[in-house]
C-alpha cells in the first residue's frame, strides 16, 4: 500500500500543507496573532481565478500570478486597515479583529458574487496524468510538489540571506530589540503579511485546482489544516510549520488507507485525537523553538 502513488500523494499534500502552515506561523511568530482571516486570502485567490479565467482572455500562468498578487495585496490591506490600528492595544483585540476581517470578506464574496459555488476553468494539465513506473501520477500533484518546494526554497533564502529576512527572524525572537536596532516595526509586520498572502495565494491555485470551484466559505478547511499543522509542528518555529504540514499529510493519508470504510467520514475526528495526544505530551509542538534552549552561564 505504501507505493509510489502514496509517496507522491504525501509529498504533494505535505508540501502544500507546509506552505499553508508557514503563512500562518510567519505572522504568529512576530505578532503572536493567529490570523483567522488567513483562509479568506485563499478564497480571494480563488475568486480572482474565477473572474480572470471566466471574463478575460489572459493566459493561465498570468492569471495564476495575478491571483497570488491579489491575495498578497489583500493580506497587506487587512494589516494596514484592520490590524495596524489595534496593534498596540491587546492581543485579544487583534484576535477579534481577525474574526471580523474573516466574516467581512466572506460576506463580501457572498453579496458581490454568490453564495453558490462558482466553477473555475483550470488548464488541461490539472486533469492530465503521467505514467511513472507503472503508476498513474496526476500532473497536478507533481506541479504542487515542484511549486511548493520552490516556494519553500525561496522563503528559506529570503529568511537566511537577506537583511529583511534576518530582521523577520529576529523580530520573532525579540520584536522590541529588533526595533531598537533601527528596524521599523511596520516594515517587519508588512513583510510578514505579504509573505503570508503570497503563501495563501499559491496555495489557492492548488486548493482550487482540486475542486475546480470556489465558494465564499472555501477558506475554512485550509485555515483549519494550517492551524492544526502549526499546533503539531510548534507555533514558534518555521521548521515546525513545515514538519507539521508533512505530519498532517502523512497522518490523514494513513487514516484514509487504514480506517475501515464505515469510519472514513470520521477521518478528521481521528486526526484531532492525534492532535490532542500531541498537546498533552508536547504542548509546544514537535519542534521546540531555539529560544527555549538558551544557555545560562
Amino acid at each position: 500500500m505504501i507505493n509510489l502513488e502514496f509517496v507522491i500523494n504525501i509529498l504533494s499534500l505535505g508540501s502544500l500543507y507546509a506552505m499553508l502552515a508557514l503563512g500562518l506561523v510567519i505572522i504568529y511568530g512576530i505578532l503572536k496573532l493567529v490570523n483567522f482571516a488567513y483562509g479568506e486570502l485563499i478564497m480571494i485567490g480563488g475568486y480572482t481565478l474565477y473572474l480572470l479565467t471566466g471574463f478575460t482572455p489572459l493566459p493561465w500562468l498570468v492569471i495564476a500570478f495575478l491571483a497570488v498578487i491579489v491575495s498578497m495585496c489583500t493580506s497587506l490591506l487587512t494589516e494596514l486597515v484592520a490590524f495596524r490600528p489595534v496593534r498596540t492595544k491587546s492581543l485579544t483585540a487583534m484576535l477579534i479583529t481577525s474574526f471580523a476581517v474573516s466574516t467581512l470578506l466572506q460576506n463580501a464574496a457572498l453579496l458581490i458574487i454568490s453564495p453558490r459555488a462558482r466553477a473555475v476553468t483550470l488548464p488541461r494539465i490539472f486533469q492530465q496524468s503521467i505514467m511513472i513506473a507503472g503508476t498513474d501520477v496526476p500532473w497536478r500533484n507533481i506541479l504542487t510538489i515542484v511549486v511548493s518546494l520552490t516556494m519553500l526554497v525561496l522563503l528559506t533564502l529570503l529568511l537566511k540571506r537577506t537583511v529583511l529576512g534576518i530582521a523577520l527572524r529576529a523580530a520573532a525572537d525579540n520584536f522590541r530589540m529588533t526595533r531598537m536596532l533601527g528596524v521599523p516595526a511596520n516594515t517587519v509586520i508588512s513583510s510578514a503579511f505579504a509573505i503570508s498572502g503570497i503563501m495563501a495565494g499559491v496555495v489557492s491555485l492548488f486548493w482550487i485546482g482540486r475542486s475546480a470551484s470556489v465558494t465564499p466559505t472555501i477558506g475554512a478547511p485550509p485555515l483549519l489544516v494550517a492551524f492544526v499543522a502549526t499546533v503539531i509542528g510548534g507555533m514558534n518555529s518555521l521548521t515546525g510549520a513545515v514538519v507539521g504540514g508533512f505530519v498532517y499529510a502523512i497522518m490523514i493519508s494513513l487514516l484514509g488507507i487504514f480506517l475501515p470504510p464505515e469510519l472514513l467520514e470520521f477521518r478528521e475526528a481521528f486526526m484531532f485525537i492525534f492532535v490532542i495526544v500531541i498537546l498533552v505530551f508536547r504542548p509546544e509542538g514537535l519542534i521546540r523553538s531555539k529560544t527555549t534552549v538558551e544557555r545560562i552561564g
Partner: protein, 240 residues
C-alpha cells in the same frame, strides 16, 4: 549631546522617575548609579523610545526625540545594550552582528566595524556561525556590545553590562568600556558596581527612588555625604 529635562515616568501606578534631568556631552563617559529600582534602566528606556515619559523633554543633538519610535531613535545614532543583553538566540552570531548594522548601508563601514569587533572580541570570530543562544553569558554580553557597535553609534547606552558575569569577565568589560571611551565613543553607563564605575567615568549621577540625589566627578562623589549610604548599600549587597 543628550539632554533630559525633568523626566517623569511611571509603570501603571508605580512612579519610576520623578523629575530627572541629565546631560551627556560629546565624548563623555557618564554613569547613572544607584540601587535597584532607583530608575536607572527606566531612564535609558525613555531615551531609547521604548518607554514614554508623561512629562519632560529629551533632546539629542538639538533634536527633540521624545515620543519618537525606537527605530527612529536608533537611526539618529543612539544604541542601547539592554540589561539581559537581548541578543537574538535563534540567529547566528554573524546574523546578530549584521542586524546591528541595519541602519548603516555602507559595505566598507560594515567591514571596518566587523574587523574592529573581532579585534575587541576575538571569541566572536570563532563563534560566528553559532546560534546566539548557545553562547555563555559573558560571550552574550560581548555580542550585545559588539552588535551595538556595528551601528557606529553616536551615543552608546549600556545597561548593567557587568551583571551576572564572573569577576574576571567584569574586569574585561570595564576595561572595554574605558577603551571605547578613549576611542571617543560617547557612553551613558548604568551600573550597580559603583566602585568599578567611578574608576573609569568622567562624571556620574546618583539616582535614588526616581530622583537625582547628587552628581559630579568621581572625586566629588566619593566625598559626598549622601553617597556613603548608597555606596555602603552596594557593598552590603555584594557581600550577601
Amino acid at each position: 549631546m543628550l539632554t533630559l529635562k525633568d523626566i517623569h515616568a511611571r509603570y501603571g501606578a508605580i512612579t519610576a522617575l520623578r523629575g530627572i534631568s541629565i546631560e551627556v556631552q560629546q565624548g563623555e563617559l557618564v554613569a547613572l548609579l544607584g540601587v535597584n529600582g532607583a530608575g536607572k534602566s527606566t531612564t535609558l528606556a525613555t531615551v531609547a523610545g521604548v518607554m514614554r515619559p508623561w512629562q519632560g523633554t529629551i533632546h539629542f543633538q538639538g533634536e527633540a526625540i521624545m515620543g519618537k519610535a525606537p527605530e527612529q531613535i536608533a537611526r539618529l545614532g543612539i544604541s542601547l545594550v539592554p540589561e539581559g543583553r537581548d541578543i537574538f538566540p535563534s540567529l547566528t552570531v554573524e546574523e546578530n552582528l549584521r542586524l546591528g548594522a541595519y541602519t548603516r548601508k555602507e559595505r566598507s563601514e560594515y567591514r571596518r566595524n566587523l574587523d574592529e569587533n573581532f579585534a575587541l572580541f576575538p571569541v566572536l570570530k570563532e563563534r560566528l556561525q553559532q546560534p546566539g543562544g548557545t553562547l555563555s553569558g559573558g560571550e552574550q554580553q560581548q555580542l550585545a556590545i559588539a552588535r551595538a557597535l556595528m551601528s557606529s553609534p553616536r551615543l552608546l547606552m549600556l545597561d548593567e553590562p557587568s551583571l551576572g558575569l564572573a569577576p574576571a569577565l567584569v574586569d574585561q568589560i570595564f576595561e572595554l568600556i574605558a577603551r571605547l571611551h578613549q576611542r571617543g565613543v560617547t557612553i551613558l553607563l548604568v551600573e550597580q558596581n559603583v566602585d568599578r564605575s567611578l574608576e573609569i567615568v568622567d562624571r556620574a549621577y546618583l539616582l535614588n527612588t526616581g530622583l537625582i540625589e547628587t552628581t559630579g566627578t568621581p572625586e566629588q562623589l566619593r566625598t559626598h555625604a549622601d553617597f556613603e549610604g548608597i555606596y555602603m548599600g552596594d557593598k552590603h549587597r555584594s557581600k550577601a
